[in-house]
């Protein structure tokens, strides 16, 4: 299965600059690239030095609403060319327009009857402009959805912003998306890519952060960690988007949990931007990780072992205008587990 990395970020946030850096790194030499631009004339692909059959320009418009078919077709063509031995690649990077919602592209990868057998979600990488992000997340739903869907966030233009506002932005991003690690464009490509993906890499801090969390390497590294988990009280003026965790003691009935979460996302998936969790299931020694973006939930993965700390299940939700306490009560009622609390 070839990983597909989705590179997104609001208009002017530095996606193409980051893509240039990524592609110049030896680790990314085997990447094929799909570039989507909004507008009549595609420009971004001219900014890339490498133009060959593994660089495909999608120019029918915004990727999330008009060219899902084109994305599927382009990925299918890349796969066919590789199968015939005409090109080689070991991963794909899709650069979206600044207005794109990552969810439909992830949905295409998961639901397309052919693509889903050959490609997998390799992670969502989002650029966030340190100068303009505060305004964007306050007023643009597209920006919030991108941040919520991110597995990793790269802050750009940090050299143009005041250190205090960068620190405030990091705090705000951690509140919006506590499961994404936040890096800077000044970090090395190796740092940006190490452990990147939708899988379990970010679960160690997620599971281990209890009341006594003191690990400065955790994703909420430069702000007060004692508050990093409990964000349901402060919507932060970010279009009503909040995040919180359910912490569950006791083993979960997988079947009822799956039925409950499926129903919850069916009814409220438009307002649940992200679900990510590590679960202790009845009859299982090892934890199981789940990962969803809006209505889409990826195949759950079996983790090798529990991270350090208490073996409590933890599910992080990033959502809009839904009550964390109502979700807690619903989870408890459906699963029959009484020891369920919100946040840390």
């Amino acid at each position: 299965m070839t990983p597909v990395i989705l590179l997104s970020g609001f208009l002017g946030s530095g996606k193409t600059t980051l893509l240039q850096r990524l592609l110049a790194d030896p680790a990314m030499q085997g990447a094929a690239v799909l570039i989507n631009e909004f507008g009549e004339v595609g420009l971004d692909h001219h900014l890339l030095d490498r133009i060959d059959d593994t660089v495909v320009l999608l120019k029918s418009g915004c990727i999330c609403c008009t060219v899902r078919g084109e994305v599927a077709e382009a990925l299918g063509n890349l796969h066919s060319l590789r199968a015939r031995g005409e090109i080689a690649f070991d991963r794909v990077v899709i650069e979206t327009t600044g207005l794109a919602d990552p969810y439909p592209v992830l949905q295409t990868l998961t639901a397309h009857p052919v693509l889903r057998s050959h490609f997998r979600n390799g992670g969502v990488l989002i650029t966030v402009d340190a100068v303009n992000a505060a305004l964007q997340v306050a007023h643009r739903a597209e920006a919030v959805r991108q941040i919520a869907a991110a597995d990793r966030i790269v802050l750009t233009k940090t050299d143009l912003a005041e250190p205090e506002s960068v620190a405030a932005l990091r705090t705000r991003l951690a509140r919006l998306n506590p499961v994404a690690r936040v890096l800077s464009s000044q970090d090395s490509v190796a740092d940006i890519l190490t452990g990147f993906g939708p899988g379990v890499a970010e679960f160690a801090p997620l599971a281990a952060c209890g009341a006594g969390c003191s690990d400065p390497t955790h994703h909420h590294h430069d702000h007060d960690h004692s508050h990093a988990h409990a964000h349901h009280a402060d919507a932060d003026g970010t279009l009503g988007v909040t995040s919180f965790s359910l912490v569950i003691e006791g083993a979960i009935d997988w079947t009822m949990f799956g039925t409950w979460l499926t129903l919850l996302l069916h009814r409220h998936g438009d307002r649940i931007f992200r679900v990510k969790g590590i679960l202790a299931l009845e009859g299982e020694d090892r934890p199981v990780a789940i990962h969803g973006v809006q209505h889409l939930v990826h195949a759950p993965t079996h983790m090798a072992h529990w991270p350090e700390g208490p073996r409590h299940s933890r599910i992080v939700f990033i959502l809009e205008d839904l009550s964390p306490d109502l979700i807690r009560r619903s989870f408890a009622a459906f699963t029959g587990l009484a020891a369920v609390r919100t946040a840390a």
């Binding site: 009857p113 997988w254 799956g258 039925t259 499926t262 993965t301 079996h302 619903s330 009622a333 459906f334």
Partner: protein, 109 residues
């Protein structure tokens, strides 16, 4: 084939993922599949009973959701359970509805 969208092989619901390395699933062999299907019917029916609906397996390969008036709907993909049930009930199933939460709590009491 999916009866709603006409796509072949679309019943790859995340709770019933195709077995492959690293993936957690109970979709392992026919025995495990049958056991999980029985558990799934029990879980779904606990919720569906709130609107007097019932889910069963149809001819071993599909599902049928039915109402006490005899109306029923057959579907193949698990992902379609709740849209089909809501169409049959004429009302939504909302897990954040206080009345449904209370129903589930009473069912476990």
């Amino acid at each position: 084939m999916c009866s709603l969208c006409g796509i072949l092989g679309c019943d790859d619901h995340w709770t019933n993922a195709v077995a492959r390395p690293g993936v957690y699933t109970r979709n392992l062999d026919s025995r495990a599949r049958r056991a999980e299907t029985a558990r799934r019917l029990g879980a779904a029916n606990a919720i569906l009973s709130y609107r007097r609906l019932r889910l069963d397996v149809w001819q071993g390969r599909s599902y049928v959701v039915s109402s006490p008036t005899g109306a029923s709907s057959v579907f193949e993909a698990l992902a379609h359970l709740w849209p089909e049930a809501e169409t049959l009930a004429g009302r939504a199933f909302d897990p954040l509805d206080e009345a449904l939460i209370a129903w589930m709590e009473r069912g476990r009491a």
